[in-house]
Amino acid sequence: MSTVPVHAPADEALLGLARAAGDAGVPVTPDRARGFLEAVATLGLGDRAATRQAGRATLCSGPEDLARFDAVLDAWFGAWHDGDGPRAAPSAPPPPTERRAELAPDAADEGGDAEERLRATASGTEVLRHRDVADLDDEERRRLAGLFEGLRPVAPLRRSARHQPWRRGTVDLPRTLRASLRLGGEPARLELRRRARRPRRVVLLVDVSGSMGPYADALLRLAHRFVTASSGPVEVFTVGTRVTRITRALALRDPDRALAAAGDVVPDWAGGTRLGESLRFLLDRWGQAGLVRGAVVVVLSDGWERGDPDLLGEQAARLGRLAHRTVWVNPHRGKPGYEPVQGGVRAVLPHVDDFLAGHSLATFADLVEVVRRA
């Protein structure tokens, strides 16, 4: 593997390209970059199409990465055309901080009074935990974003199909026999076993429609914590007029970059809500394939449904049957005087196991606890 001929300047240029791809969100690691150099050396330098193939095979790890890498490559080689075909994405590589769809407040107009403001609210970490995130100003939002680190999601457990040796439980026949075989067929001690424990999958559905706008940032940060910090598998989808899987985008470790990446993939920010149809699509596409089956499903939505509430109820029932536990988190639930009167909420409530509030960091911590025990 180390027999790659070294063309120092060319290698440097290629490594630069790999780094640029990394900045654009392609998961480039040093060994991948080395594989890239090796692949280019194998295919021969100086051929852009070959470089593209080499990069696609060695640097990318999913269909999303391919378009990103193509964009970077085109930007890197400048706008020259060599009949390579129209495969490349037409736009320049997306810088990770743009197009973030009102996720976080812009840090541009930060004045000198920030420190003063900070002191004024210094007593307030505990207060902030209980404040409605929709009512926060930019500075408070920034401080709250830091507090999300304190949430420690733990995956709920399920019993797996397999067994593990255990002190108590049922007799583990194969192991007992093997042990006795080792002693020449003499009956040895009984080996016992129990069903092994596996983390249960958690599926988060984040409503990104217009009515949820003030909460979108906080809910995505919560989802990001689940994806990066939970001990088990987590899948995140946004629902609105469409269903988008954003798990991979949220897997970026830095929350701000992850949210920006999510902003890139979701086409229906702040649109309408067609929860029923979205749920149906989700269950058709992923639920049947087993993603929702036996999972803990958390729906983060206000239930203001523009579509048909009957369809929503029907799909919620389907979801309830497929999932191990369904948790509905409504940002308005915790507010005084809230009554679940909207058509969407009423249709869904009979099929939901837990109905929680979700407007402040403290309520998010409650949610983490409910999921852990599910």
Binding site: T42, L43, Q53, T58, G62, L181
Partner: protein
């Protein structure tokens, strides 16, 4: 098969029509001795690539079908316990078991070793090892695969290490029902197989089902392409379905696809009840055009 073009040509001779980028990755996988990770929609020819490669290289194909709960004893090797016990009993009966240590040593002999696919691929190398639908296996199994794929050797404690003289060409396929672990992906060369374009799909049908006349193959491929892009199906038909459908039409003696013949053979193309209705409506629209 020393250049990209030769790879493509050799694959074509076996009846596998591949595009340029796929030939490049195959070439790279052979030269760099890296496993090849193929992802893509079901029915785009991931598994058949491995079969075609084995045929083109004239090497045995060893296939490991993954499923939930698969573990090392099903992938690597296992001892044949019943035969070992029988062996002991036979020794007893013959009264030959003079030396206990000898008898025990005799138990861990190659003839009592059940070689499972991965070990078999290493023993038979050069070979093509197909690890099919690796996304169905559990994460632990991926870690185990990673270990084998990075060293191309397996150690059996009682026998010693089995090392491949030449590393087998490893092809992993995944339908993306879940994300594979990044460590495994990093070890592999990645390729996403898309649905082919019209010209390539016609070529595939012609090559795989030569009995189907050109005109029918083209029509069938056109309809499938349109269904894939327009009909909004739960499970868009893959190339495998196109092949089945073209064959089905041919068996019924159809020379020209029309609404009636298409409706009668739809079962070869779409496999969901909801899709049947949608496909039928889309077909009607297409005919009306």
């Amino acid at each position: 098969m020393e250049t990209v073009d030769e790879v493509a040509a050799a694959l074509r001779r076996t009846g596998y029509v591949c595009d340029d980028s796929l030939a490049v990755v195959v070439h790279l996988a052979r030269r760099m001795q890296r496993p090849l990770l193929l992802e893509g929609e079901p029915g785009t020819g991931k598994t058949s690539l491995a079969e075609a490669l084995a045929e083109a290289l004239d090497q045995p194909l060893v296939r490991l079908q993954c499923y939930e709960g698969i573990d090392a004893t099903q992938a690597l090797y296992d001892w044949d316990f019943p035969r070992q016990v029988l062996h002991l009993r036979a020794l007893e009966a013959a009264g030959a078991a003079a030396d206990a240590e000898e008898a025990e040593k005799g138990l861990y002999d190659e003839r009592f070793l059940l070689a499972r696919p991965v070990l078999r691929a290493l023993q038979q190398a050069p070979a093509v090892l197909l690890v099919d639908e690796v996304d169905r296996a559990d994460d632990e199994f991926e870690a185990f695969l990673l270990e084998v794929l990075s060293t191309y050797q397996v150690s059996v404690p009682e026998l010693g290490t089995v090392r491949a003289a030449t590393p087998p060409l490893v092809v992993l396929t995944s339908n993306r029902t879940r994300d594979l672990h990044d460590a495994l992906k990093r070890r592999c060369l990645y390729h996403w197989i898309d649905h082919p374009d019209l010209a390539r799909e016609v070529a595939i049908v012609r090559s795989r089902a030569p009995e189907v006349p050109e005109a029918l193959a083209r029509q069938a491929a056109e309809v499938v392409q349109a269904l894939r892009h327009e009909a909004d199906l739960v499970k868009p038909p893959g190339v495998a379905e196109t092949l089945d459908w073209a064959r089905a039409l041919h068996h019924l003696g159809v020379a020209q696809v029309d609404l009636d013949s298409a409706a009668r053979t739809l079962g070869a193309l779409v496999k969901h009840r909801e899709d049947t209705d949608r496909a039928r409506r889309a077909l009607a629209r297409m005919v009306a055009r």
